[in-house]
């Protein structure tokens, strides 16, 4: 249920297991992990209720309309900039990133201005094109090596 913090729950589980000296994978370990996750969930909920629910509502009521307007207008590109770089860092490979960037620029700044009707399917076009190009422009040499390694495994069994 608490999907958003699940990736942040792992570290708290590990810390808890260390603090009570429980091995991961044992019953003690998984109990320590569940308790840690409960603790993390409680902190997360309390901080959301206090800082976003109560304080946020209050902040909204005292924030000048100009600032609200700036946030409303520009928060979307700020989020996408940060999130796109986050995704790039996760991929950690130059080739797919270059492909995705080139496709996005071509579609959004080349194709859409020519055919404005495509604007709201543009992201779909970018994703599909990138998937296809990443697949067809994959590095063949490295893949050949990976294939021999992969095919070697079943024989070894």
């Amino acid at each position: 249920m608490i999907g958003n913090i699940s990736n942040k729950l792992l570290p708290s589980a590990v810390v808890a297991q260390q603090n009570v000296g429980a091995q991961p994978g044992t019953d003690r370990g998984s109990l320590a992990a569940s308790m840690a996750i409960c603790g993390a969930a409680v902190v997360h909920i309390v901080s959301l209720v206090i800082f976003v629910g109560l304080m946020g509502t209050w902040l909204l009521s005292i924030t000048p309309e100009t600032v609200l307007e700036v946030v409303r207008t520009y928060v979307v590109p700020a989020v996408f900039g940060a999130v796109a770089v986050q995704a790039i860092i996760t991929v950690r490979r130059l080739r797919p990133v270059v492909i995705a960037f080139a496709v996005a620029v071509l579609v959004q700044l080349g194709l859409v201005p020519l055919m404005p009707g495509l604007a709201f399917v543009a992201t779909g076009i970018c994703v599909l094109t990138t998937i296809l190009l990443t697949w067809f422009l994959r590095p063949r040499v490295a893949e050949g090596r990976a294939e021999t390694a992969a095919s070697g495994q079943p024989q070894g069994k």
Partner: protein
């Protein structure tokens, strides 16, 4: 029907709709579910504890370690959530950004949905109706996500091995590339609106890159957790400066 000036299709007072009581009640419902779930887990753990050599003290230490470890990430989420309040209202942000889903996915879904309704998130066409469409897309998408996780996880686990044997690239690089393409596309679409939007995009991205670099260089993982919130804030600040310099939509 009220006068056209107050109709949902023309009114840009999104927060009046986004903060309505019904949404607050729903948000509280989600919080309650998680609280009850947590209570059940803790009770079960307390009952199972003695059998595996975990006494009350160990349980309490585990609980406290989890709570302390979650402090940083939680406050990091709070910053991100606060910056989106003006767009989606408090109950929406609490549930969609704070609890279920993620900033990246929700903003993406909302942006595409608002676009389909002929509006830009936060733009002059972001009316109450556009908000309703965007919010519906976020919620429906989130519900599908949960269903898909429940139904497809066992199926995918089985086929994962087969695909991995066929070609490891399919599993590792292609989904990542698709994500990068989606967010780059959504981001670069903002470039068309104004130079201040471009500034927000570039500064937001650059700050994120800087944060990730600093986190790995100085081995300070907390910078990574805070990176998203700080990047959004610096993107906003830069956009404000650019807007005042006459590069944006001109907010007075």
């Amino acid at each position: 029907m009220t006068s056209p000036a107050a109709s949902p299709e023309t009114s840009t007072d999104v927060l009046a709709v986004a903060n309505m009581p019904l949404l607050w009640v729903s948000a509280l419902g989600v919080f309650l579910v998680i609280i009850v779930q947590t209570a059940i887990y803790m009770k079960a753990a307390r009952r199972a504890g003695p059998g595996v050599g975990m006494d009350r003290h160990d349980l309490r230490v585990s609980f406290r370690s989890g709570a302390v470890a979650a402090l940083g990430p939680s406050v990091a989420v709070v910053i991100v959530a606060l910056s989106l309040l003006a767009l989606f209202g408090t109950p929406g942000v609490l549930v969609r950004i704070g609890l279920i889903g993620s900033v990246a996915y929700e903003t993406g879904a909302a942006s595409i949905a608002a676009g389909a309704a002929g509006a830009e998130l936060g733009g002059p066409g972001y009316t109450q109706t556009a908000f309703a469409v965007a919010f519906f897309a976020m919620s429906a998408g989130g519900a599908m996500w949960m269903l898909a996780t429940l139904l497809l996880t066992p199926v995918l686990q089985r086929s994962e091995k087969r695909i991995a044997r066929l070609n490891p690239l399919v599993l590792t690089v292609v989904p990542g590339a698709a994500l990068v393409a989606a967010f780059l596309s959504l981001g670069i679409a903002e470039v068309r609106i104004s130079a201040a939007h471009t500034t927000a995009l570039v500064v937001g991205g650059a700050s994120m890159g800087l944060a990730a670099y600093a986190a790995s260089r100085l081995s300070l993982p907390w910078i990574r957790e805070w990176g998203l919130g700080l990047s959004i804030l610096s993107g906003l600040a830069a956009a404000y400066v650019a807007d005042q310099a006459g590069l944006g939509l001109g907010i007075s």
